[in-house]
């Protein structure tokens, strides 16, 4: 699942950079090497001001969180540093959104502005028995397992279930134009299917005024892998 998460963050950062933002796409190298089928994280950031801390590889305050695997919703507090009513959570799941929300405790729900559920597996291009990367043939799997830090991607970026996830994220957040993001996603059709087919549950806005929420100064965007980073203690 590393590849799916990497593609989500990579496409968001690439698209944002193309639109003139300062953007950055990093992997959490603590998670990175040879880990599959367990929790790994990927981060993207973009904003109007230059990124100074080039070597910060964790994002403790994600605004957007994408869960490539639904089960993580009951495993980790991935919203610890997210501002109250400021977070967008995208979950790849076929389940009922209300059922999934049962797994979030009140303090995590308080962080959410939008809760998005997208059946990315169903919307993705079906290759072989499943669109998941990690059940592909062994050579592809081996490449996916290796650390890609500083390496070129061997496979096209934005394939498989990553595409509909990106679509749902971009459509639900509305910060980036859909067309601009679609241009950098390899499977454009699946990405647009994700734009069209996802379920959003909106939460009442927090104490912040809507104007403030609309123009964030440095949107720290987190197009993330299974889970997001953790806030400061």
């Amino acid at each position: 699942m590393d590849k799916e998460a990497r593609d989500v963050s990579s496409c968001v950062a690439t698209a944002a950079r193309g639109l003139g933002f300062y953007a950055d796409n990093v992997s959490d190298y603590i998670d990175d090497p040879d880990r599959t089928n367990c929790l790994v994280r990927r981060y993207a950031r973009f904003g109007d001001s230059p990124i100074v801390d080039r070597f910060v590889y964790e994002n403790p305050r994600p605004d957007w969180v994408v869960l490539v695997e639904e089960t993580i919703i009951k495993a980790v507090n991935f919203l610890r540093g997210t501002p109250e009513r400021g977070g967008v959570l995208v979950v790849n799941s076929t389940r009922d959104p209300e059922y999934l929300l049962k797994f979030l405790p009140e303090e995590m729900k308080a962080k959410l502005a939008k809760f998005v559920v997208v059946d990315a597996v169903g919307l993705a291009e079906q290759r072989g028995s499943s669109p998941w990367m990690f059940v592909r043939n062994l050579s592809e799997l081996a490449l996916d397992r290796m650390s890609t830090e500083g390496a070129e991607e061997r496979l096209a970026i934005g394939m498989g279930i990553a595409a509909p996830l990106i679509g749902a994220l971009v459509a639900a957040t509305g910060e980036l134009p859909v067309d601009a993001v679609a241009d950098v996603v390899a499977d454009r059709d699946a990405m647009l299917r994700g734009v069209a087919h996802h379920t959003v549950i909106e939460f009442a806005p927090a104490a912040r005024t809507p104007e403030e929420a609309e123009k964030p100064e440095t949107t720290q965007t987190d197009g993330t892998a299974p889970t997001a980073a953790h806030a400061a203690r």
Binding site: N37, E58, I72, A75, P105, H230, R233
Partner: protein
Amino acid sequence: MSVRGTRIPPHLQLPIAGVTPPPTEKEGQRLFPTGNFRFYRPVYRDKTPPCNNACPTGEQIQKYLDFVKHERFLDGYLTILEDNPMPSVTGRVCYHPCETACNRGEHDEPIGIRSVERFLGDYGLALTENPIAAALPTLNGTTVAIVGSGPAGLACAYHLRRRGYSSVIFEALEKPGGMLRAGIPHWHLPEEILDAEIAKLLSLGGIEIRCGVRAGEDVSWEELRGYPAAFLALGQDVGRRLPVDGSGSRGVVGALEFLREAGLGRPVTVGSQVLVIGGGNTASDAARSAIRLGGGHATIVSLESETELLIVPEDLEQARDEGVAFTPNTALARVLASDGHVTGAVLCDATLAKDESGAVVPRLVPGTEREVACDTIMIAIGQLQQLAWLPEYLSDGGVITADEHGRVEGNVFVGGDVMRGPSMVVDALGDGKRAARDIDRLLTAQALEPEPDVEIMPYQGLNPAYFRHAPRQTIPLTPPEQRRASQKVEVTLAYSRDAAIAESDRCMSCGVCNGCDNCYIVCPDVSVLRDARENGHYSIRTTYCKGCLVCVQECPTGCLEKVPELDFDDPADVVRMETAFAPYDGAHAEQSAFTKQLIEDTIAEYDAARASAGGNGKTAFTPNGDSGVRS
């Protein structure tokens, strides 16, 4: 929402080697629950083995085979008695749908379930006391009427007795047993075994058998309706007639009538050249009995071809060994007689065809008639029951009509051959069991329920690598020469104790945990717990299991399943570990100062604690495990 293990106590929060208990220790597992790494959870969920499902009485076959394997014969016997009152009988005569369904047939050969059942049944008959007698409830004073003391009637009486009801059984013949006595020859089911099983049943108390009472003559429909409930299990004891010329001659008999006379011990005369018309098990039994009693030859004349014969395979083979001849694809066209006695028959080539209603219509080939000499002709082409004494709307062509519960009307149920047409002993036993359950439901004002759906374990769900190929234990037979000579010598013999244990050991326990310990052994994370080495005594330590599913992969029986973790929405099932990621939380970036301070504070705290505890005079503790002493 439950949140376990999210906070590490302050004195353990440091990444100092040796301070934090490792997860292999109990305390460490509590502190570091890794269950939240898991996408799937292994769950023990027993399925129904195909043998249990195929058995009309619902015997828990896998369970008693497991008991026999461990030499717990009494437990095995009691397990059978929960469903089947007469394992000694079915262990001899059952057409074993269980063995036909056995998954082991796809692996090598099916388990010899019937022979193990017979072993347990004979074990039970040899006990001096009936082991279930002490556990029976006291009689509740309600008496149920049962018509027929065949397997269905006896099973119904037995299961009613287990529920506290007494019963009165009306039997038309002079001895109880129905078709067990009047249809099954003694070389298949010895009379003393049947008598012993019936005596065991009667010793439970509350069951009365009135022999020589024929329903419709000695007890009327209105009388039966007068009981709180009734069960009609009168079977089908009237053989179908064959409408051909000369069928009224002496020497033309119904196979069923012949078997009944022989079974009741009445004198019978059989010629030495016997033709048996029919292609089913009754034809086979009649032909084989005719050889024994008449000492001559018997030929089975059937419309069915060799491959279509409805005789169970082992009976067919035994019949051939005993010298029974077969004339397939042939019909009886005419009976030749002189002085009113059979002297021969005209046979004709024919094929089996059925009309829309499913009734057999022989299709004769003209011009193929030929004469054969014979002195006895037995007709075994099906059977019926006289049901004129019942209200007309309740019977249809020799069977009693009923709804899907076997209910005729009111509190009257029906079962066995008189409901289904000619069928197996074990079908009748199952009908009796279900009728007893449903009568109990009605009398205690509960609703009748359809049979619950069951999930049957297919062979493909097992892990066949764990089952080495082992041949089926050979079932001993009496040599054909000895069998041919006597009506009393049993054809099929019993397993020895060792053979029964070895055969039970072949059971693959399809879909049911049999306590093999494999999950317990293969778990790399010490997450399978075992209370006792028995069925269903394992559990998964869900806060620590990482969901690697090795146990599911390696479960031989397929009782372990993977279930998506999100299917479990109980708050107690949510394990959210705050420390799952990055315990150093930004140690290389914005929080490094904070973390550094935390480490220093805790070291100071630790040193202070050691100092106040008196210390032992050794050098001060340092966080990296270095003693501080340089050589």
